[in-house]
């Protein structure tokens, strides 16, 4: 399935909804959205992953890029990641740099 990344921004939150297969060829699309999100200086970056079917190392590298681009003060939420993607995050330790959650309450996040 083709990769797609959609950015929505509110006051303090940037939300990127990912779908399809995130591999080396599609990672630049994700990276571009991260750069756009970073330009708004959000407090939170929310990555909606329920429809993301596959993430190659290139996708994980964009997560690292996001962490470094946004700065340590910005929390990155990984929401509803599928088991295989979560497993890769855990094996490589990338899960330590993000907040992995099943549910995401936008209103609650805005209060943080």
């Amino acid at each position: 399935m083709a990769f797609n990344a959609t950015l929505e921004t509110t006051k303090d939150t940037a939300k990127i909804t990912l779908s399809g297969e995130l591999d080396a060829s599609s990672a630049p699309i994700f990276k571009t959205e991260v750069e756009k999100a970073a330009a708004n200086h959000p407090k939170h970056l929310v990555l909606m992953m329920q429809d993301l079917e596959y993430m190659a190392s290139a996708g994980l590298r964009v997560l690292i890029f996001a962490k470094q681009k946004m700065g340590a003060d910005v929390d990155i939420y990984v929401v509803r990641a599928q088991e295989t993607i979560l497993d890769t995050l855990q094996k490589t330790g990338f899960d330590q740099g993000v907040i992995v959650v099943d549910e995401y309450d936008e209103a609650q996040l805005e209060k943080v």
Partner: protein, 647 residues
């Protein structure tokens, strides 16, 4: 597949360079094809333009991405160079810089540690799995793990079926490097994604966060290319005569016992070794290195040992490696044995083979060992003090991956290596082991009790010795290799740590744990400097005093198998900190003996930390030691060790 020729104008001297734009750097695999003379008699070249050569500086190597997945042997490009990205988030991590004398090293094999089905980890046999077992290492109390080789190697090198069982025998330990800059992909749960670098770095960061340093066992003495009949992977096809020590006829010197010898004191190779270690120290935050067959690194290009080997000197004085442990296996397969005389440049520590041999002989009750034992307990000043080398020069070990496990050391007189398929001819015969009365497993409760006591005696002596103790993975729970003292080729239960032993031999684990905790609690056991055998702080006691069955009177005779010593706590760390007094009585005689105990300063009492001959309790957690009933002496059982603490 694209092949790009090098135009002549891209060459300067003997260096070719090129920038290639618009590559898919996530997925690209690259190699080199080199052509040149193939007649090894003239110039000793072995170019082979039919092969694709791996970049010797490749930071990630594909081709063996999944452990034991059979490769396509017809592929001319077996080991594939890949690119790596230095974007890992180390947060605030840095090497721990634990003073050497404060280290307790745990020697382990990445796969063996968690591959056994009983390990209960998500991805057995991987870097990720070690992370899951960090709480175990912390409970044991070790603060440093030493990993058997993790540079990319080929587990299929010299693989063959076991003639008896048909089981595939592998290059399991990995002492044969394919690429010096790349982590073993097959040890990573994410190797198939090419993410072994991230997985390993995450492990190291997590170990550091838990106060555990990482030492790598590195193999620079030879490569996986073997001799004339070996595969052409990289070095041989790039510049054979630079990278390898060659005979005048162009054949390979074999000081490593494995086919070839890396030409480490050639300046090009020397730079590569230095680049490699700097890379691991800076990019992976590695805390130290143990050099396999390090004496080879001191040989000149013709094989002769040098007085001042430039490679060893370069490493000793390198500013990036300045805080790293540099540990030599101070011998090689060519007959050079340099324990006590390794060219150290004030920096190098040594695996102390004489410690191993001395303790083993004393443990089994050989006569004439007391004087040697006294040296080993003190950090081998006979080997190191004369050269101004500290006690921590001595890496004290009784067992390591080479040879028997501790359980096998007290269960077998002879090696039993039939499973290796070499008619029991491989592996050393100088094991200094004693089976305690029966060869192998027995139902005799007396023998089994003695074996456990001997294991406890061994670790008790190890943990009260000055120097740096090293424990072999699994000895703390009684791991056996069924009498096999050379399990280099087994990807099975001969090597895998059976975690059910933690329950069945929990008393051993508790004993190890408390002994390590005791060492960690008492700086007087971890001195930076050798003893002076005098009182230089005005305590009324010399820093170390020797005793026997009579206080103040050790029996140094050939027939003696008893020895005791007392450490004055006021001399701890050269008198810079105050510790308790410690008294250790060792009776390796087959009869029990009454030991008179030296008196303590007024107001202090002796307390029992450990007594391997006592039942049911033979050890106490540091700080909870009960007071000794009779302060003037105690009966030390046959083949037993007693440790008292005066406070």
């Amino acid at each position: 597949m694209v092949e790009i020729p090098f135009p002549d104008e891209f060459q300067v001297g003997n260096v070719f360079s090129m920038i290639v734009f618009d590559l898919d750097y996530e997925n690209i695999e690259y190699g080199y094809r080199m052509d040149g003379p193939v007649n090894h008699d003239k110039g000793h070249h072995r170019f082979d333009s039919s092969k694709i050569l791996m970049d010797p500086y490749a930071k990630v190597i594909g081709g063996r991405d999944i452990w034991r997945e059979t490769p396509d042997w017809n592929n001319i490009y077996q080991h594939r160079s890949r690119l790596v990205f230095d974007d890992f988030d180390w947060e605030n991590d840095r090497p721990l810089e634990i003073p050497s004398e404060d280290q307790v090293i745990y020697e382990m094999h990445v796969r063996s540690f968690t591959r056994h089905p009983s390990s209960s980890v998500k991805h057995p046999g991987t870097y990720a799995a070690i992370r899951e077992k960090i709480p175990y290492l912390k409970e044991l109390g070790v603060n440093c793990i030493e990993l058997l080789p993790i540079y990319e190697f080929d587990e299929f090198e010299n693989s063959r079926p076991n003639p008896q069982t048909g089981e595939m025998l592998l290059n399991y330990w990995g002492y044969s490097t394919v690429g010096f800059f790349a982590p073993k992909a097959g040890y990573a749960a994410t190797g198939k994604f090419g993410m072994q670098v991230d997985e390993l770095k995450t492990l190291i960061k997590e170990l550091h966060r838990n106060g555990i340093a990482v030492i790598l066992d590195v193999v620079f003495n030879h490569t996986a290319e073997g001799n004339e009949k070996g595969p052409t992977i990289s070095f041989r096809g790039i510049d054979n005569q630079t990278y390898y020590m060659l005979t005048p006829e162009g054949y390979y010197f074999n000081f490593s016992g494995t086919g070839n010898t890396l030409n480490c004191n050639n300046p090009i190779v020397r730079n590569m070794v230095l680049d490699c270690l700097r890379y691991w120290a800076s990019e992976y935050h590695i805390d130290g290195f143990r050099f396999d067959l390090a004496s080879i690194l001191g040989r000149d290009p013709w094989g002769a040992p040098m007085a001042n080997p430039p490679l060893l000197e370069s490493l000793a004085f390198d500013p990036i490696l300045a805080k790293c442990n540099l540990i030599a296996e101070a011998w090689d397969a060519g007959g050079l044995y340099q324990v006590g005389s390794f060219p150290a440049f004030g920096r190098w520590a040594e695996w102390n083979g004489k410690y191993r041999d001395g303790i083993r002989k004393f443990l089994k009750g050989e006569p004439g060992r007391v004087g040697d034992m006294a040296q080993r307990l003190q950090g081998s000043p006979d080997l190191y003090a004369w050269a101004g080398r500290a006690p921590a020069t001595s890496i004290n070990f009784i067992t390591c991956h080479d040879g028997f496990t501790l359980t096998d050391l007290v269960s077998f007189n002879d090696k039993h290596n039939e499973a290796n398929g070499e008619n029991n001819n491989d592996g050393g015969n100088d094991n200094d082991s004693w089976n305690c009365g029966a060869e192998g497993w027995t139902d005799d409760p007396g023998i089994n009790a003695l074996r456990k006591r001997q294991i406890k005696n061994a670790v008790a002596m190890l943990m009260v010795s000055q120097g740096v103790p090293m424990v072999l993975m699994g000895d703390e729970v009684g791991r056996s290799q069924q009498g096999n003292n050379n399990t280099y080729c087994h990807d099975n239960e001969l090597n895998w740590l059976d975690w059910t032993l933690l329950q069945s031999n929990n008393d051993l684990f508790q004993f190890f744990k408390h002994c390590i905790a005791f060492r960690n609690a008492h700086p007087v056991l971890r001195n930076q400097n050798h003893f002076r055998n005098v009182d230089y702080v005005g305590s009324g006691y010399a820093d170390i005093t020797w005793h026997g069955t009579q206080a103040w009177n050790a029996d140094w005779s050939d027939s003696s198998r008893t020895l005791a010593f007392m450490l004055c706590g006021k001399h701890a760390k050269s008198g810079t900190v105050v510790d308790n007094y410690i008294y250790v009585a060792i009776n390796m005689h087959w009869d029990a003996h009454w030991f008179e105990i030296p008196g303590l300063p007024p107001g202090m009492q002796w307390h029992v930390f450990a007594n391997t001959g006592a039942t049911p309790a033979d050890i106490w957690a540091p700080g909870t030691e009960p007071q000794l009933e009779n302060q003037s002496g105690l009966l030390v059982g046959d083949r037993s060790v007693v440790i008292l603490v005066g406070k």
